[in-house]
């Protein structure tokens, strides 16, 4: 059993949330250097994929990709490839082009000089991936936001950096989207989406990822949950099938993206979860908790 001094755990404000990184199994200076490098890679993902930063790949795509092909960083391309695949496989349920609906709700800012976009129009398969990491939008009214997948990708990259620098074990937690590797399992407590004082269960995580999404709640305003920040591309309205979900998957990018599908499709997401070797827990609007049969493989409910 490792003692506290064998580990270093630090946190920085990144990706609009708090990113926590823990490593173990090296001398302290090495652990700190590894954590620095992992934070740096998370910051790079943020710079590339932020909707808010005017120089990010995402902003450049939103400005220009409907006019001409735009070349992007290899990581942005990798995330777009995963997003397009999941879009097709989920029959359009996973859709990174719901940014206009989020803008209309005030959850994403309007860009300067951008034309107002009718949130009711929807376009299936609107993103074209070309040779040489170039991207083109098939319609003029497409605006993308990688908020539903990039955080998971950043967690995966950070884990890769920590492993590459020789960390025996570690954990990266970006505001609830997390991955752990090596060593003893990490215990993660999952909150009830409607009452954050209540913990639904704890899950043991090792060499896998866990991502959670819930309907938005703001304890400053009220203890009740507001509407979801996840848009159902079918209705262009906030998803209302379930109150919250936690997905465990081999990598965090996939876990992150799959939470959006469960929020929209509820139990209908089972086949897709299976395809991605993922399991899930969901809390329905009438407070029922449901799990996929393989959820239990390492976890247990109501600890």
């Amino acid at each position: 059993m490792a003692t506290a001094s064998d580990k270093v755990r630090r946190a920085r404000p990144l990706l609009g949330t708090f990113v926590e990184i823990e490593v173990a199994g090296m001398v302290k200076a090495e652990m700190n250097a590894a954590i620095d490098a992992a934070f740096e890679v998370v910051a790079s993902v943020h710079r590339l994929m932020s909707f808010h930063e005017p120089d990010s790949d995402v902003s450049r795509l939103n400005r220009e990709a409907w006019i001409r092909p735009v070349s992007v960083h290899a990581w942005t391309f990798e995330v777009l490839q995963a997003a397009v695949k999941m879009h097709r496989r989920s029959n359009g349920m996973f859709d990174i082009s719901v940014a206009p609906a989020l803008q209309a709700m005030g959850l994403l800012p309007q860009m300067n000089d951008d034309v107002p976009i009718d949130t009711k129009t929807r376009s299936f398969d609107a993103i074209e991936l070309l040779e040489g990491q170039r991207v083109r939008f098939r319609q003029a009214n497409v605006r993308i936001d990688l908020g539903g997948i990039a955080k998971g990708f950043a967690v995966d990259r950070a884990v890769e950096v920590l492993r590459g620098l020789g960390a025996a074990s570690g954990l990266v937690n970006a505001g609830g989207d997390l991955a752990a590797f090596g060593g003893e399992p990490q215990t993660v407590h999952i909150r009830h989406p409607r009452d954050p004082r209540r913990l639904i269960c704890s899950v043991e995580v090792t060499d896998e990822a866990l991502a959670s999404t819930a309907r938005r709640f703001d304890p400053f305003q009220s203890a009740d949950t507001a509407s979801s920040a996840i848009i159902d591309p079918g209705s262009r309205k906030p998803a209302s099938a379930v109150d919250g979900t936690t997905v465990r998957a081999p990598c965090c990018m996939i876990a992150d993206a799959l939470t959006k599908i469960v929020m929209i499709a509820g139990t209908e997401a089972a086949e897709l979860l299976e395809h991605y070797n993922a399991s899930a827990l969901l809390i329905s609007t009438d407070d029922d908790v449901q799990i996929t049969p393989d959820w239990h493989h390492a976890g247990y409910l109501a600890a």
Binding site: R9, R10, A11, R12, P13, L14, G16, T17, F18, E20, N32, L171, N173, G175, G176, D177, L178, Q186, T187, V188, H189, I190, R191, H192, P193, P196, R197, R198, L199, I200, V205, L210, A211, S212, A214, F217, P219, F220, A223, G244, T246, T267, A270, E271, L273, E274, L282, D287, D288, V289, Q290, I291, T292, P293, W295, L301, A302, A303
Partner: protein, 157 residues
């Protein structure tokens, strides 16, 4: 086709694991100083408990500023490291605290946090190390860093 398994939450079990508050101590001020300026040989206190000048062999390596912002309800302690020219070098969370629910409206409950500095070990539900289920916004830290820059960015030399 995968069948979902219905799980009914035992109400009693939920209450027994209820978590009114959560706290995580990451780094002490001293640890964070060393982390931000590994080459520094001395940290000269410029403003008591708040601002330090990092010196390496007689040269200024940068400045270290301790600050706190309100998170959801409770303070988050953090540190901003500035380069000698006053630009942000790094932002690090030192201690994170959070609470929910009715308890926070009670002054006596809040009083337990008054006077705690980042060196005090404040551990509520110390066994809860990882929480998932809600994305916590770091907006207040971003605003805090802006404030620190406005206050010190051009003033420290």
């Amino acid at each position: 086709m995968t069948q979902w398994v219905r799980y009914t939450l035992p109400a009693a079990a939920i209450v027994s694991v209820a978590s009114p508050a959560y706290a995580m101590q990451y780094l002490s001020i001293e640890e964070a100083q060393k982390q931000a300026f590994p080459s520094a040989t001395h940290f000269a206190e410029v403003q008591a408990g708040r601002v330090w000048k990092a010196e390496a062999g007689g040269r200024v390596a940068g400045f270290f500023i301790f600050d706190r912002v309100i998170g959801k309800h409770l303070y988050i302690d953090y540190a901003v490291a500035l380069t000698p020219s006053g630009a942000v070098h790094s932002v690090e969370i030192l201690q994170y605290r959070e609470s929910y629910g009715g308890e926070i409206r009670s002054p006596s409950w809040l009083a337990q946090f008054v006077g705690k500095n980042s060196g005090s070990s404040l551990k509520i539900n110390g066994d809860i190390r990882n929480i998932a289920g809600a994305t916590l916004s770091s907006t207040h830290i971003t605003e805090g860093v802006k404030r620190v820059l406005a206050a010190y960015g051009n003033r420290l030399r």
